[in-house]
């Protein structure tokens, strides 16, 4: 007996379905957001947690402000529980480039001062995260070389090196600037460059 809803695709129809795309990459921030949530739920082990102790040891050993900044950003990034980036991605995004003099003579600090500043950077990063402003933050290692077509120049003790960055959401450039103005980085003599990310819109 013939079934009521018996129906077969023609070869052409099968081919049309088979030729449809099989994959679509989600936006890059999604992987980051998922990793954060899995860490928060303690479902995966974080590499950053292990790195935290290394930063403490290094900070104590070398007492450099660069390491303070790196540590502060890393902790802020690790603790960032923002999932709003999934649904609220309409605001423009800005990158705050943190610049400072990373030479050893410019960054000698006592251990107490290091600890205090670490807390301050961490607290600032957490605040941005809780407001749903922070999308991501990364430290940069100190080695930097600028290449041109003829030669390469090493800038190991640059007095205006980019030492880290924050990617944030803000309604407009002025709002992004006001976020940057609150950065502890400015308070300690660093500079923050504010640039809108061009999404081509």
């Amino acid at each position: 007996m013939k079934e009521e809803f018996e129906d077969f695709l023609s070869e052409q129809e099968k081919s049309q379905f088979a030729n449809l795309p099989r994959e679509k990459s989600p936006p890059n921030f999604l992987e980051e957001a998922i990793m954060k949530n899995l860490k928060k739920e303690n479902l995966i082990h974080t590499n950053e947690q292990q790195g935290t102790w290394s930063f403490f040891k290094l900070a104590t050993a070398f007492a450099t402000a660069f390491l303070i900044l790196a540590f502060g950003i890393a902790i802020g990034f690790w603790l960032n529980t923002d999932t709003n980036t999934l649904a609220e991605n309409k605001n423009p995004q800005y990158i705050l480039l943190l610049r400072s003099d990373s030479s050893p003579q410019a960054t000698k600090l006592s251990n107490d001062e290091i600890t205090r500043r670490v807390k301050e950077y961490t607290s600032w990063a957490n605040e941005l995260s809780e407001k749903g402003t922070l999308i991501s933050a990364e430290k940069l290692k100190s080695k930097t070389e600028i290449l041109d077509k003829n030669a390469e120049t090493s800038l190991s003790a640059n007095d205006d090196a980019v030492v880290g960055f924050f990617v944030i959401k803000a309604e407009n450039y002025e709002k992004a600037k006001s976020v940057a103005k609150d950065s502890p980085h400015l308070k300690y003599g660093g500079r923050v460059e504010v640039r809108e990310i061009d999404k081509g819109q």
Binding site: L20, K24, P26, I34, L38, K39, L86
Partner: protein, 176 residues
């Protein structure tokens, strides 16, 4: 490494890098599946994907490998899409259309019309057609995923195909 080796290693270590390998192997396919199932709502698809991986990480140890990992993950994803859809039922679906095809050069893809037609199908028709005709699941599997009877799965597919054929032929008439 096979999926099984990766998952077993992940269960022993809970290592982030191992997880990323699993994630990157399956996420693009899962994401497109979520978009097709929900009619192209990107933020809902992203939420579903996020919830899928959280649930998968909790349940990897219970997976018995009687099916492919992709099938198991798809099952979790379909549940998540359904749950989000129920929450958002009041949303007007037509407002959600377009986002999936506004990027990635879909406009120039020769299958754009078919994709668009599928996207605009009623939710029930669309889900069955996506799972059966695009993903290649049987009616039994489709009905299990969607928690409907096999008969419903067949009738929804029948009407979905009929609707797709009608729309395609209308499109061809317009082209002439």
């Amino acid at each position: 490494m096979t999926d099984r080796e990766l998952v077993e290693h992940f269960l022993e270590t809970r290592d982030e890098n191992t997880f990323k390998q699993i994630y990157r192997r399956h996420t693009s396919a899962l994401y497109l599946l979520a978009l097709r199932l929900n009619g192209g709502a990107e933020s809902d698809a992203q939420d579903a994907l996020q919830e899928t991986w959280i649930r998968a990480c909790r349940k990897f140890a219970d997976f018995n490998w009687n099916s492919k990992l992709r099938t198991w993950l798809s099952g979790i994803l379909i549940n998540c899409v359904r749950e989000i859809y129920k929450k958002d039922r009041k949303k007007n679906e037509t407002e959600l259309v377009d986002s999936v095809f506004s990027r990635n050069g879909y406009q120039t893809n020769k299958d754009f019309d078919l994709e668009k037609i599928i996207q605009n199908l009623p939710s029930g028709y669309r889900k069955v057609l996506v799972l059966h005709d695009i993903e290649g699941y049987t009616h039994e599997e489709t009905s299990n995923f969607l928690e409907i009877s096999i008969g419903t799965s067949k009738s929804q597919l029948y009407h979905a195909r009929k609707s797709v054929r009608n729309s395609l032929s209308k499109g061809q008439e317009i082209e002439r």
